[in-house]
C-alpha cells in the first residue's frame, strides 16, 4: 500500500466574487522512504499542495473535493483533534524561511520539548534529552547551550537545522519541505540539502520537497512532479524528467537554468508569466506561453497520459504517441 495517496484533489480559494481554483485534479502517490519533488514557478500551486496534505491551507483556501490518504486514513475527513495527532507526529513540515518559522519569544528548547510533550506522555527531562540528541543529530555544536537560547541568537542556517531537528523529534513517516533552502545563503543551501537527504535516507523517512530549483531537486528527489497553474503537467523519475523532458513547460524550465547558457549570453526564459488564479487561460493553461501551441491547445484541456517512463499532460506528446502507435500497427 502507498504511504500517502492524493487523488483528484481540488483546492479552491474563496473570494467575494467567485471560487478560484488553486489545485485542479491533482493526484500522486508516495511510498515509504521515497523522496519526491514538486517543482514549478511561483503561483503554480506547489505550496498549496504541500499545505493541503495536512489541511493547513491558510484561509480563504479550502479542499473542495478529492482524497488524501495516509495509509488507509482519510486526512480530508479528519477533525482538528485527529489532525493534530497526524501533524508533527506522522507528517512534519519544514518551512521556507527559518527566520520566520521559530517563535521569537520562546527558547529553542521550549519549542522542541513542547512538540514531543504534546504527542507523547513523557517527562520534561526525557523530552529534553531527546531534543538535545536530535540537535546533535543535525550537527549543531554544543546543543545544551543552544537549547536555552532564543531563535534570534542563531544564524539562518543554524535555525533551519533546529527546524529539521524539530521535525525529526517524533520520527515522522513523511517530511514535507516547502522550499527549505530558498531563504538561505548558497553555501548553507548545499549543507542543509545534504543534511535533509542523509536524514531521510538513514531513517527511511519519505520526503516531499517543494522547490522551484531543478538543480536542488535533481540532487535529492527520486521522482518529480512538475506543476503549472494548479495542474500536474508532468510526472516521472527525476533523471528522466531532467534528461528528457516531455512537456514544453518542463523543457522551458530546464532551458532557463543558468548552466544551459554560455557565459556572456542572455539567459533563456519562458516568455510571459504564470497566470493568476483569476485569469486562467482556456484549454491547456500553458498555451499562451507555449511555442508549440495549436488551436486544440487553446480549446481543450489535455489528459494526463503515460508515455512509457513518465506521465505528461500535453497534446503534442499525445499526438506523437498516437502517431507512433499507428506506425506500429502499420508495420505489423
Amino acid at each position: 500500500m502507498n504511504l500517502l495517496s492524493v487523488s483528484n484533489l481540488y483546492v479552491n480559494f474563496h473570494t467575494k466574487e467567485r471560487e478560484l481554483a488553486a489545485l485542479i485534479d491533482v493526484s500522486f502517490t508516495l511510498n515509504r522512504g521515497e523522496r519526491i519533488a514538486i517543482v514549478g514557478e511561483s503561483g503554480a500551486g506547489k505550496s498549496v499542495l504541500g499545505f493541503s496534505i495536512v489541511n493547513l491551507i491558510g484561509k480563504p483556501g479550502y479542499i473542495e473535493s478529492g482524497s488524501i490518504k495516509l495509509e488507509n486514513k482519510e486526512l480530508t475527513k479528519m477533525s482538528l483533534r485527529q489532525l493534530q495527532e497526524v501533524r508533527g507526529k506522522r507528517i512534519a513540515m519544514i518551512f521556507q524561511d527559518p527566520m520566520m518559522t521559530l517563535n521569537p519569544v520562546l527558547t529553542i528548547g521550549d519549542q522542541l520539548v513542547e512538540t514531543i510533550r504534546s504527542h507523547t506522555k513523557i517527562s520534561y527531562k526525557d523530552a529534553r534529552n531527546i531534543a538535545i540528541e536530535k540537535l546533535h543529530h543535525v550537527q549543531i555544536a554544543s546543543p545544551e547551550k543552544r537549547f536555552n537560547q532564543y531563535p534570534h541568537e542563531l544564524s539562518g542556517g543554524m535555525r533551519q537545522r533546529v527546524i529539521i531537528a524539530s521535525v525529526l523529534l517524533l520520527n515522522p513517516d513523511i517530511i514535507i519541505a516547502d522550499e527549505p533552502t530558498t531563504a538561505l545563503d548558497v553555501t548553507i543551501q548545499a549543507e542543509i540539502l545534504q543534511l535533509l537527504l542523509t536524514i531521510c535516507r538513514d531513517n527511511g523517512v519519505a520526503l516531499v520537497l517543494i522547490s522551484h530549483d531543478l538543480g536542488v531537486v535533481s540532487k535529492v528527489a527520486e521522482r518529480t512532479l512538475v506543476m503549472y497553474a494548479g495542474h500536474v503537467v508532468e510526472e516521472g523519475p527525476t533523471l528522466e524528467i531532467i534528461n528528457d523532458p516531455q512537456h514544453p513547460y518542463t523543457q522551458g524550465l530546464l532551458n532557463a537554468l543558468p548552466q544551459m547558457t554560455l557565459p556572456g549570453q542572455r539567459l533563456n526564459q519562458i516568455q510571459g508569466s504564470m497566470p493568476s488564479l483569476a485569469e486562467r487561460p482556456s484549454g491547456c493553461a500553458f498555451h499562451p506561453r507555449c511555442p508549440y501551441a495549436t488551436q486544440k491547445c487553446r480549446q481543450e484541456q489535455p489528459n494526463f497520459i503515460y508515455s512509457g517512463v513518465s506521465s505528461v499532460a500535453c497534446f503534442l506528446v499525445e499526438d506523437m504517441l498516437n502517431e507512433f502507435a499507428e506506425q506500429d500497427q502499420e508495420t505489423h
Binding site: 495536512v54 493547513l56 491558510g58 482538528l80 489532525l83 493534530q84 495527532e85 497526524v86 501533524r87 508533527g88 507526529k89 512534519a92 513540515m93 518551512f95 524561511d97 520566520m100 518559522t101 521559530l102 517563535n103 521569537p104 519569544v105 520562546l106 527558547t107 513542547e114 512538540t115 504534546s118 504527542h119 532564543y150 534570534h152 527546524i163 524539530s166
Partner: protein
Amino acid sequence: MLIFLLRRLVQACFVMIIISIISFAIQDKLGDPVQQMVGMTVSPEERNQLRNELGLNDGFFSQYWRFAKGAIHGDLGTSYYYKEPALDVILNKLPATLELAFCAILIIIFVATPCGVLAAIKPRHLLSRLLMIVSSIGLSVPIFIVAILMVYVFSIELNMAPSFGRGQTTEIFGLWHSGLFTKDGLKHLLLPSLSLAIALMPIFVRLIRAEMMEVLQSEYIRFAWSKGLSAPRIYFKHALKNTMLPVITVGGIQAGTLVAYTILTETIFQWPGMGFLFMDAVNRVDTPLVSAYLIVVGGIFVITNTLVDLIYGLVNPTVRLASHGL
C-alpha cells in the same frame, strides 16, 4: 541594568525640570491666590503686603529659583490652603489614587485580554462582533458620562454599591491608608475603578485584537499548527506573548491617560485622592499645590514607563537591557 536605571534617573530629572518650569509658567494664569486667601474686606495695600510676603511680586526667574532650591531638598512649596508642605499634602492622598488606578489596571488586564483574544480568534462569532460594537461605543463616550450613568444605575437605582468616598480604610505600616482589606473599602472601590477601567478598556480590547490577528497570520504560528500543538497552547503560549509586546508599550503610554482620567473619576465619585485634591487646588488657586501635583504625576509617569520598559525586556528576549544599557 544599572546603567539603564541611571540613565532613566537622569532622564527623569530633565523631565521634572521641564514640568516644573511649565507648571510655574502657568501659575499666574490660574487666578489670584491672594483673592482666595483673604476676604473682600482686606484693603489693596494689605493685599500687596501679603503678595510681597509670599514673594508673588518677584520676577518669574527669582520665584522659580527659590522654588528650585527648595525642590532639591524635597520642599515643593507650602500649600496656601492647607498651610502644610505641598508634597506632604499630596503624598497623603497618594494611596487612594494608587489603589484606584491599581484596581482599574487589574480590571483592564483581566477583562481586556480575554475579550481581545476572543475577538481575534473567532472574529465572526456573535460575541466578538458585539464586543467590537460595544468597544467603539466605549471609545466615543466620555468617561464622566459613563461614571454618572454607573452612579445612577448601580448606586441609586439598584443600590448595589456606594457612589462616593473610600469607605472604611485600614492603616498599614502606619503610613498607608488602604481600602483593599475591608469589605466596605472594596465596595467603595468598585464603581470608581470600574468606570476608570471602562474608559481605557476599548483601546486595549481593540489593540489586543488587532495585534493578535496579525500574529496569528505569522509563519511561526503556522509552524506551531504543523507541529500538531493544541489550539489553546498556540493561542495562549505562542500567540499571546507576541501579541503583548506592543500592548505593553502602549500600556506604558496610557498610564499618563489613566492619571488624567483619575482627576475626572475622583471628582465624580468624591474619591479623596490626588486628582480630587488637584481639582480643589485649581479652584482655590493653590498654586504651590498645583505645581507639586504636576511634578509628582511627572514622577509617576517616569517610574511607570521605566517599569514598563523593564517588563518589556523580560517578555521580549531580543531586547536585553543589561547588554545594551539602553
